[in-house]
Symmetry: D2
Subunit: 475 residues, 4 copies
């Protein structure tokens, strides 16, 4: 019998996964900022579906609640009511295989010399293991396998003789990697972004306070307006209803994650002043210029390919249409399928819209291809439905290298573009033609400047030195 | 404080709701047809999210399981395993206010003279109350408020001296209304459609058996191919791996529900030989002809307006784009919002994509407008995001009359088009212009023939006589 | 590997099981009588742990809630709040194998000609099948396998031309068996007991109303005082805050169930004017007279043997002590034991108190022995703990015949005393001696008069004629 | 309206509560020792009902699972299956108010220099706060408020240059208080008891390995036999299927907790070679000598007073009987009672058995009285039921001082015997006479020797110096 969960996993493995989303809300006098954080996390749910948590800070006393599950499954009004605080922070986390412990959920709340501190982290350190071992050599214990505990332990060590701002600054001299941090302690809400600004973090302004968020798409819901992004190497400290800015690192190049534009972020977010929809749409347009093909209809692999597909259609003049219908109710299923149900992993989620593809030359836009296993199934479904030709166009460059900066990434050996030529990939998936967006095209679409974007997973050009072992994974 | 669930309810009330989806699978020798029914229901989840159930028939002995919740929440492998049978039927049900009893879930399983019978019903009888009272006068008791119990009681009464086919036929001489029935008893799987064929029901063929389903979109997942629709007034009896057809009613006009094309059914389903996507897309195109307007972008209220919007854009030559981003993780939330969060019901689900609307003349396509309360909020959001003009186009005619045939419908007094002129509606929603598709346009798009479609909710022209009291609701 | 649940089942199978407990509360003006019913059911939980339900009657409109599980697991304040009514009735049900459907839970609520009716039933009909078939022949359908549905269907049939009191009376002319019924309809609370009074039902008086209950032990909790038992063949109708009594049957002999005194009822209940503790304690005393033996300590198989053991000790002059410690936290476990864990089913619940038995001649009192499987294990545990002698004394007569009146009973072939001599049983369980209370002794202890007690399971002398087939079980 | 949970809390507050139970199982080759730990915890459930956890150690790699709830609610076969290890340890925890975090559940698993370590702790440190602050001054962070984290952090610090045995020994030079520890790391199972041996810990032997447990009552279930108690100040290290003993502390006086004999432990456990039943029974006998009174019946407040009551009855020659029936199904209820239900907290659990007390001079044995609030209600219930006289006898001395060694204890101001004379207490509870067991009588009953028992809560004579602040509670 087919292992359906393995199958479904395969389907999800086809995409990269972000590991986290973070939110912080500061509104003195409003004791129920946890409520705003809740709705913020709800709108960041696409950044992580494994676990979620909220910590509320009332005059330095921190209450928290975190659990496995979706935001709306975890919290109820009674729990939110208990989370009283002038400041609240929250976190959603993606499920990386084998590490699904409730104890790895965030925010991480620790009790140090001066009181309590809550920390939410999006990203990944490249020297976490070595830092951890160093501290363990000095008798420090760890209770989780998350990087955030390393950061918290370092901050605590420095708090001995320092203010929290100093302790964080000293800690950030040592840790390397990607991080967007939201921290609360005493009467402060603090936001930090790594020196390269790999992971996003932006600041919103409400009538009576401030919001920090991985993405700006939550602002209108919370009644906030975009103030600005936190800068690479910047720490912002919100206290007494003011923001103070500290530059704790200098000279690094900005390297905003390209995949936030290509796939992760919601199209209604602005990342480092560039709108995601615009960038994604431009990817489609430039893709049309780089890989034109004659066809009757432009379709997308929903939902993530749709924005680029619209762009491709516009640029090419070939009409956009829906080629697949997506089941909106797909969650976890524990029912094993009948043996006759082939490719169930795909079919449970997508069904071909025959009317639009039968007898047609179909141009299918996907946002990215990681392993390539699902693409073959999708192309086969289109052909079975009568498509005369299937031309696959990918609105991002071939993925050739793993990410060490907060994205759940397979081994290089499992990245199809790392081990196969474009022609081999095309053949494997049974497409009539295959075209990827060029790195240059993608950079043009993002529009931040060629040297301001991290394209490591497409080029192997990492924005910082990696430890010798290359990849560093938590065990 | 705002009552969030009331708010969310409002949002959902903006659309009509279908009340059910039904599935039946017949494969002698395969004892686990419940498994196929499960996956079928999973793909019909859009037809009802309140409760679901499966009954399996093994040589006349019927096991069943039904519960409140989504299909994938209710069943697990152990339950499916217990549902052994050569025949299995299933049902999903929509939550109509105040009637959320587990005991109203289907299939309904009853024990009559000759054994057990399971019945799943999509539709609504218009004379259920009077039939129920008549039987109660004769000492029959009812344990639920669902029409299906009336049908089952009638069949049972006739079974005294008849075969099941005769008993059903006799029953159908008496009941009036809309019904697509899937019944199993003894070694038979039976499908019935009312004399007008208002609610859909189609037949699929697998290698070793047959599938009955409200919609054909489940067939590819189940390895089935579309055979044909059950005809109005037809009963099909599947036994000994053969289908026999009985015409139990004659002379009624076919009246396929227009709303199945406009909103209910999945675009990848064919209803009475007409593909839903094609019809919906044509609605958009004809709407563009009927209500042209100058504009910069055509957007849709996702997801249901998208197919028509693509059609409108194509016909008008104005580019299609996304105006809203929909949160894919919206389920039930029990957290009360902060008072500052205005229009949360809409904002939790939709966020304006500023880049696409700011400074533009926006043409917004909605599939239908029922109460009009949400439309005003959506238009306001667009204007706040900087839209220069908002032209609302509705891809179906004004809804002026309630449905008595299986759709959860508000009172006529709450149907905005029943009590307001188009100009009043436009003004109320703050749109710069407003245009509805004409009934003729919709009929042309559906393409079944003008007299073969039920347009009662747009015209008040019901395909059958209604009881004097007009509407008949279960209390 | 051992099937632990099979094992645990075995342990529970050692005792007879009552099938139900019923409660009704009538207090006009108090809309939350469901609250009192809840606490009443909570105190009747020992009568049934499978499912529970409450129906509340507000001016004839009946709301209900029923579920699988323990009373305190099923209900919460929100559910109770919704169950508004001047009258409320409730039911707890025991889990009989294979019939664990939520749809078999009670109260049964049906909608008949004149309105709604809720019914809770403790007992078993001996002619349910034939009545059911008769009605099915006339086209009546059934949705459950419980007798109560037969009773409700008959009442409904008679309601055509009758008052509810008449309809019930007419129904009771036809049904045969054991029943304690609590019914509510319109503004009435009705209690009925079968012509032999096999199953108990008593009436309590509160300041503002009345309580009906299977057992009087709930009265003090509800602020009620014992008024009297419902008499055999009596129907009491509570309306306008008055009780009216109807004798619907005459001439039958009273036959109160002996097992209520021996095992089922709580010791703090009075059944038909006789206190259960007193009867059970007397059983022990008379047992001591009938089967004296030299010994050092009298112990009980807790908890059900304790009252008799205290009596035995008192009468014999041999000191009472605890021989076993019972784990108070035993519920359902789903963990399979290690193979080395022998007799886990017993050991999970009981542990020998070595200090009290090692080197001693132990007299062990059990309330009853049904299959005898567990007794052997318990005797072996005592011997392993060093007991010099183990003398088993059973505070009820040998169980030789099945019950058809509401007790879950194994086949006669599985009743050890039906197929073995006392000496064989003694040998089988490895006891040094074995003595059962005589039927006469038990009747003396109960003290109702020799002909007023049903002793059928000990004597085969059933208080009414049984259908030819003998036992009638629902399939 | 009465707050039922406050009421129920009151009822539970009447007794002291132990905070934990610990188990460790070592059987090389048996990868499923978690299974044995599960059943062990199941039998130690009376020691803590808030949360439970199991950690399994497979060659140094530790997997764990812990949750809020009862043992049998938390675990299922799938979870146990995943907990593979030659060694497994487990823990049950009592719910102390306000601290009900899942993150406080045990075992605590930490990752230190040399690998992973799991630790389960029963007891309380008196210098945890100061140790915690010292470490926090050095930059150590804490993630919970449990003492165990302090112990683990200290062990980790010493592991820098030491073996695990040395690190534990060094740690135990610093921590002060009561502790029974079960630790696993590498291929070792380690048991430790504090220098006074306040909290119990004993060693069992199975065919292929060893068991450590708070109480010996679990041994027969696990197929183990009692080897011996861990001695005060002893660390036992089980490795290579051998036990090695280390005396890490010398010269302290043994001070076994008296309350383990009086109330906490199961009667079928032996604590420091003395059987609990025997001690408790002797308490009753000596109480009868110290406080004789004329009476008709000796009853107990079930279940904890029963053993002593049997002793009292034996010694006094006055017959023992049951005065109360306890509802065996009382768990958490969330239903608010009706206002008329007085003393519901008691009545939900206990009902007077009128037959045994009406018109009688009742001698009621309670094991201990802490706050005295419940006693008054119980005495009133007896009087209302017609008791002529109620003589309260308490099978332990007056509780006058709080415990700092692992028992959840109210403020001294809330200990009724700390602030009232015996006569005042008697009057307050409405008893006709009141007698407490003397400290000497209790010591005689325990029989360990007068100076080998901790009687601090009765005498204020603590077995070790306390920090100046007196009591040390986690905030």
């Amino acid at each position: 019998m087919i292992d359906i969960n393995q199958e479904l996993r395969t389907f999800e493995d086809e995409k990269f996964h972000d590991e986290c989303g973070v939110v912080g809300v500061y509104e003195p006098g409003n004791k129920q900022n946890a409520r705003s954080v809740y709705f913020g996390l709800h709108s960041l749910q696409h950044r992580g579906q494994e676990s979620a948590g909220i910590a509320a800070n009332l005059g330095g006393k921190i209450q928290y609640y975190k659990e496995m599950g979706l935001v709306q499954e975890i919290f109820n009004d009674e729990i939110i009511e208990r989370l009283q605080g002038d400041i609240a922070i929250g976190h959603v986390r993606y499920s990386t295989a084998g590490e699904s412990h409730a104890s790895n959920a965030m925010p991480l709340v620790v009790y140090h010399k001066g009181g309590a501190l809550a920390l939410a982290h999006n990203g990944n350190l490249v020297n976490a293991r070595i830092l951890r071992e160093e501290m363990q050599d000095n008798g420090v214990i760890f209770q989780t396998s998350i990087d955030s505990e390393v950061i918290a332990a370092l901050i605590a060590r420095h708090l001995k003789n320092s203010t929290i701002e100093e302790a964080i600054t000293q800690t950030l001299q040592v840790v390397k990697g990607a991080y967007a941090l939201v921290i609360t302690s005493a009467n402060k809400l603090i936001g930090v972004r790594d020196p390269n600004g790999i992971r996003p973090l932006c600041i919103g302004k409400t009538d009576k306070g401030f919001v920090l968020s991985s993405e700006s798409c939550i602002f209108s819901l919370l009644g906030a307006r975009m103030l600005r992004d936190v800068e690479p190497g910047e720490m912002v400290v919100i206290e007494n209803n003011e923001i103070k800015s500290f530059k704790y690192a200098k000279g690094s190049r900005r390297a905003s994650c390209a995949f936030e534009y290509v796939y992760f972020s919601r199209p209604d977010s602005d990342i480092d002043t560039r709108n995601v929809y615009t960038a994604r749409n431009l990817c489609g347009k430039i893709l049309a210029k780089e890989h034109p093909v004659e066809g009757d209809i432009v379709i997308s692999v929903p939902d993530s390919g749709t924005v680029a597909a619209i762009g491709y259609a516009k640029e090419s003049g070939i009409p956009y249409g829906e080629g697949f219908i997506k089941n909106r109710y797909v969650g976890r299923t524990f029912i094993q399928p009948d043996q006759r149900m082939r490719e169930l992993s795909v079919r449970l989620k997508l069904n071909v819209l025959k009317e639009n593809v039968a007898g047609k030359r179909v141009i299918m836009i996907d946002d990215s291809i990681v392993r390539g296993t699902t693409s073959a199934k999708i192309v086969r479904m289109l052909k079975e439905a009568g498509a005369k030709e299937v031309h696959v166009r990918v609105a991002s460059p071939p993925v050739t290298d793993p990410c060490f900066f907060g994205i759940d990434t397979p081994d290089k050996s499992k990245l199809i573009a790392a081990t196969h030529t474009i022609e081999e990939i095309r053949k494997g998936m049974g497409a009539d033609s295959l075209g990827y967006l060029s790195v240059e095209g993608m950079l043009e679409a993002i529009g931040l400047g060629d040297d301001k974007v991290c394209t490591a997973c497409f080029t192997g050009d990492y924005p910082m030195e990696l430890p010798e072992s290359g990849m560093e994974f938590e065990d």
